[in-house]
């Protein structure tokens, strides 16, 4: 799976983009975020308040129960502030 991080999610995790192998038991957005939290202090801090995190799966806004799989591009970012 390709993971992308934007804005302060990139700053806190220290990662802009990475390829990860999903462990078994990670099949939706909620499970993915739970797993990512355990990958290190930066991830734990970035994902401490999930109300402030938006997720896109293959460039579409996704919800906690939406499925994720090995071939997906998943992006994590804060609420948008363009315009």
């Amino acid at each position: 799976m390709k993971l992308l991080y934007f804005a302060w999610l990139k700053t806190k995790t220290g990662v802009a983009q990475e390829d990860v192998e999903l462990p078994s038991g990670v099949a939706n957005v909620r499970e993915l975020l739970d797993w990512l939290k355990g990958r290190g202090p930066g991830y734990a801090e970035a994902l401490a308040d999930l109300d402030a995190v938006r997720v896109a799966v293959n460039q579409e806004y996704a919800r906690p129960d939406d499925p994720v799989g090995p071939g997906d591009e998943v992006a994590l970012f804060p609420p948008v502030t363009g315009g």
């Binding site: 996704a62 363009g82 315009g83």
Partner: protein, 162 residues
């Protein structure tokens, strides 16, 4: 038509290009967003706009398609910049043209309101105390929500992950 670019844009030239040759246009509405030198009570020296290449274009196309489905527009244009910008610089242009002013004005308002809550852009402001990511405002959701009487673009809202 949508464009995402680092370069500045010329509003006059964009408008001329948009309306050229279309004599059905009776009204043109234009919104231009600029970089302010203050954010609340903090001075802003510059800002950097980050975006999600690919998804940005996808969302802007979808928002524009939604406007075209809701209003009888003759032409529409969204240009959004990214990269480092300074106070006074142009950030975004939204232009809508129709036979009548009301249609053009409403569609223009819809586009900028929806863009602010859907398009994946983030502002990093540089002030005296360093750089800070701008937080999303509840008032932007409220502004976008006033167009909610019909389905929002794509039938989806940005949802909290949990």
């Amino acid at each position: 038509m949508i464009r995402v670019q680092r370069e500045d844009f010329d509003v006059g030239a964009e408008i001329a290009g948009l309306t050229q040759g279309n004599r059905k246009i009776g009204g043109l509405a234009v919104f231009v967003g600029l970089v302010r030198d203050m954010a609340g009570d903090r001075a802003v020296g510059a800002m950097t706009l980050e975006h999600y290449p690919g998804m940005t274009e996808k969302m802007l196309h979808r928002i524009e398609a939604e406007a075209l489905a809701r209003w009888p527009l003759e032409a529409s244009l969204i240009v959004h910049r990214y990269g480092r910008l300074e106070p006074g610089d142009q950030i975004v242009l939204v232009a809508t043209a129709s036979s009548h002013r009301q249609t053009a004005l409403e569609a223009c308002g819809f586009l900028i309101d929806w863009l602010k809550t859907k398009a994946p852009f983030w502002k990093l402001e540089e002030g005296p105390a360093g750089a800070e990511w701008v937080e999303a405002r509840g008032s932007d959701d409220t502004a976008a929500g006033r167009w909610d009487e019909a389905a929002p673009p794509g039938g989806e809202d940005p949802k909290a992950a949990e």
